[in-house]
């Protein structure tokens, strides 16, 4: 048992993923495989990512990485769309791809006996997608329907508006699922070119967790993806940093026929690589998560009764992801909810969190680890996280100590570095009557 600090949970960190139980191998082609065995249930999860995301979308083609990822499973020279899904669904498995801002992630699940079926589909669709024209046309139409729904959703529109305000001139200003105008123009040839240029083994990570011997799992991945070549040869250029706006800017989008307005308010935050990330994450928990939404939940939901949800989030990621507050309120209460949130942000940068808040939130961060690492999905997510951010195989064993070492001053410093209550982006989407 590792005693980290009086009053904080003491956990048996040896039960967490660590160098003794994680197998990691970098294949000759640059692909990295991680595996951890767990025989307590008969299933297996694969999880991973590759270096192709919305920031790679060419100008005017927002949504290209996203639709490329979605189209991978629409056919290969040796398997049709129907055959791919028949192989997966007939064994009760799943496999899916999705593009985010800076990478394309995938996740699959199957009974352990079917790992090879899953890996052979993964290999086929990653390496040899054929992007059949009829399939791409159909997929585009599905995406356009989804975008039409998104564009009439108050939460999504508030987020889109926030991104435009907070990330002017930065690649993060574009939504990863694109716009109707751009997605409508994307053709099979463009998807094929994007795949050729960005998909390859270098920078790709695959984690396998479940009822399969870890060494055997690595061999299985190697036999399917070890001979893969192509893709980007040079490291990706760094994602630019982003300063907050010179003064607070507001944007409002009117969406008729709605009963509620959504608010997104915040600023560019630290990347996951920034040493301030963990103090910021702990501070964010105090600000708008702990219990039922932390200080912001107390002020906006519990005390004022203004909203069903009002919380903060810190994106992290490889670039300056947003640090934001999100709330859904009656249109008449939007200004009051914003004012209460601004007061909390001011307090957050004016004075350190209390020793009590620090202790509670450290205990929360540490104590929730066993739950996060309970399932194969949770462990696979942890392995991918370790590799993506170079955290080290012993990261989850070190984690209680890292959290216990964070001070009130470090949290205040991180808050002041990233949040200036007079330099925010504030976006509101809702019905008429919502004040601007």
């Amino acid at each position: 048992m590792a005693k980290v600090k009086p009053g904080l949970p003491s956990l048996d960190v040896r039960s967490f993923p660590g160098p003794e139980t994680i197998r990691r191998r970098a294949l000759k082609n640059g692909l990295v495989v991680l595996a951890r065995q767990n025989f307590s249930s008969p299933s297996v999860v694969i999880s991973g990512f590759l270096r192709a995301g919305a920031i790679d979308d060419p100008v005017g083609q927002a949504g290209l990485a996203d639709i490329t990822a979605s189209a991978l499973m629409r056919g290969t020279p040796s398997r049709s769309f129907d055959q791919i899904y028949e192989s997966i669904e007939s064994i009760g498995a799943s496999l899916g791809f999705g593009a985010g801002t800076s990478s394309t992630s995938f996740r699959g699940k199957a009974l352990a006996e079917d790992l090879n079926v899953l890996l052979s589909i993964l290999e086929d669709v990653l390496r040899y997608p054929s992007f059949p024209k009829d399939q791409v046309d159909r997929l585009r139409s599905e995406k356009l329907t989804a975008l039409t729904m998104r564009d009439q959703d108050t939460g999504s529109i508030a987020q889109l508006t926030f991104d435009e305000l907070a990330y002017a001139g930065h690649p993060y200003r574009f939504p990863s699922d694109g716009y109707r105008e751009t997605v409508g123009q994307l053709k099979a040839g463009g998807l094929r070119a994007f795949h050729r240029r960005y998909y390859g083994p270098r920078g790709t990570v695959v984690a396998v967790v479940g009822a399969v011997d870890a060494e055997a799992a690595i061999h299985a991945v190697e036999s399917h993806l070890g001979s893969w070549s192509g893709g980007p040869r040079t490291p990706r250029p760094e994602i630019p940093s982003m300063a907050p706006p010179a003064e607070t800017i507001r944007g409002r989008v009117r969406l008729d026929g709605k009963s509620q307005s959504d608010i997104v308010l915040g600023t560019p935050g630290p990347s996951r690589f920034d040493p301030a990330f963990l103090p910021a994450a702990l501070g964010n928990n105090i600000l708008g998560r702990f219990g039922l939404f932390g200080r912001i939940g107390d002020a906006v939901r519990e005390d004022a009764g203004l909203a069903y949800y009002a919380y903060s989030s810190l994106a992290g990621g490889p670039g300056p992801g947003p640090w934001q507050v999100i709330a859904g309120v009656n249109p008449a209460n939007a200004e009051q909810a914003i004012d209460l949130t601004l007061l909390e942000l001011k307090r957050f940068v004016d004075e350190p969190v209390t020793p009590e808040e620090l202790g509670d939130n450290q205990a929360n961060f540490i104590g929730r680890l066993p739950l996060q690492l309970e399932s194969n999905e949770g462990v696979a997510g942890a392995l991918v996280n370790i590799e993506r951010y170079g955290l080290g195989l012993d990261y989850y064993q070190q984690y209680p100590g890292l959290i216990a070492g964070i001070t009130r001053e470090e949290i205040l410093e991180a808050a002041r570095r990233f949040i200036d209550p007079d330099r925010l982006a504030i976006a509101i989407a809702g019905p008429e009557g919502a004040p601007a």
Binding site: S15, S94, R138, T145, S259, D303, S375
Partner: protein
Amino acid sequence: MSQNGGSITKTRLRNGLEVRLKEIHTAPLISSWIWYRVGSRNERQGTTGVSHWVEHMQFKGTPDFPAGVLDRAISRDGGIWNAMTWVDWTAYFETMPADKIDLGLRLEADRMMSSLFEEAEVDSERTVIISERQGHENEPTFRLAEEIQAAAFRVHPYHHEVIGDMADLERMTREDLYQHYRRFYTPANAVLAVAGDFRTRPMLENIRALFKDIPGVERPEPQVRPEPAQRGEKRVTVEGVEETTHLEVAYHAPKANDPDFFALAVLDSVLAGASNLNMFGSGIPNKTSRLYRSLVAGDIAASVQGQLSATIDPHLYSIEITVRPDRTAEEALAVLDWELDRVVNEALTVDEVEKAIKQARALFAYGSESITNQAFWMGYSEMFADYAWFETYLDRLSAVTAVDVLSIAQKYLVASNRVVGIYRPKNGAQRG
């Protein structure tokens, strides 16, 4: 080695509280759930939504655990806790590090009868709940589903949404809430299910000590008016400014305890893909299902899904279709009807039935990874049947034949037994 190998201990305290315990030693966690047999099914006009609102008030404190204290104590220990209200039940759970679960148990024993329901807290929660409802109303699919439910149930309280009607949320009083709480939050009306890293005997002793002094009163009589058979197809239309057309077709369906339920689960899997009955964890795709092939691969819809839920009284089997902008609800309905005619006229293939069973088997295996999900099933199954329903589910599904499916398709999938609901853009398709 298998997590499912362990048997469960069932007992009943003298005051009527049913207790279910299952030792699982794969992670240092314990998940505790308390289930009350109360939901929108137990509500009447004037106080619709009261069960859900009571659930909110259960987080507002007791003399021993004032509001903020609970939240802080559980979050501090790294636990998760939450609650949910459905048509037949209200459930509260805490999943915590094994050595901390005592707090969760003490809290549940305490708030079974000592919640304060302070007037000021009721007032402030009123606006929170209205805001929750307004958030739902932002979704055209919610507005459509609410109308379909109201049309499908003229007499039975499944008529209204769990969140309640706005008129009632605006007017309900503290007294309405408190009466409902006192009537339904009793040991004999509850099931406590605990799974995880503990030894059964000391756990049971602890539970007995915490709950035994809560007075036992008789279980409240359910006063539920059965829904008469529907006498012809009903249609509802909802209009709004959102530009995407939705079609939802809902058939009156068997209750969970009806043998027909299992054949309908197989049919749902073949038509619209396997439904994931687990509360936690991901499902599997439905791209080889019949309705996906004809509607989505047939260029009519952007998505289709089936929805079958396990309930005390007969509820609905719904098929929800998001129509592509270049198509109409009528085109989608014509294709849907063509597919439904097929299952009414010809038996499924043996392969289709086997695939549905393999999918259910895989989903059950995935569900066993999470201790929280295992504890969930121990109580959830008791709300509409009993734990044997869950334990024998795969066997009963495996016993379903293509002929069984044909006969339930003929019984339930008839037009006179359904409500067809369409959400239509008010001004025709418009690009914004």
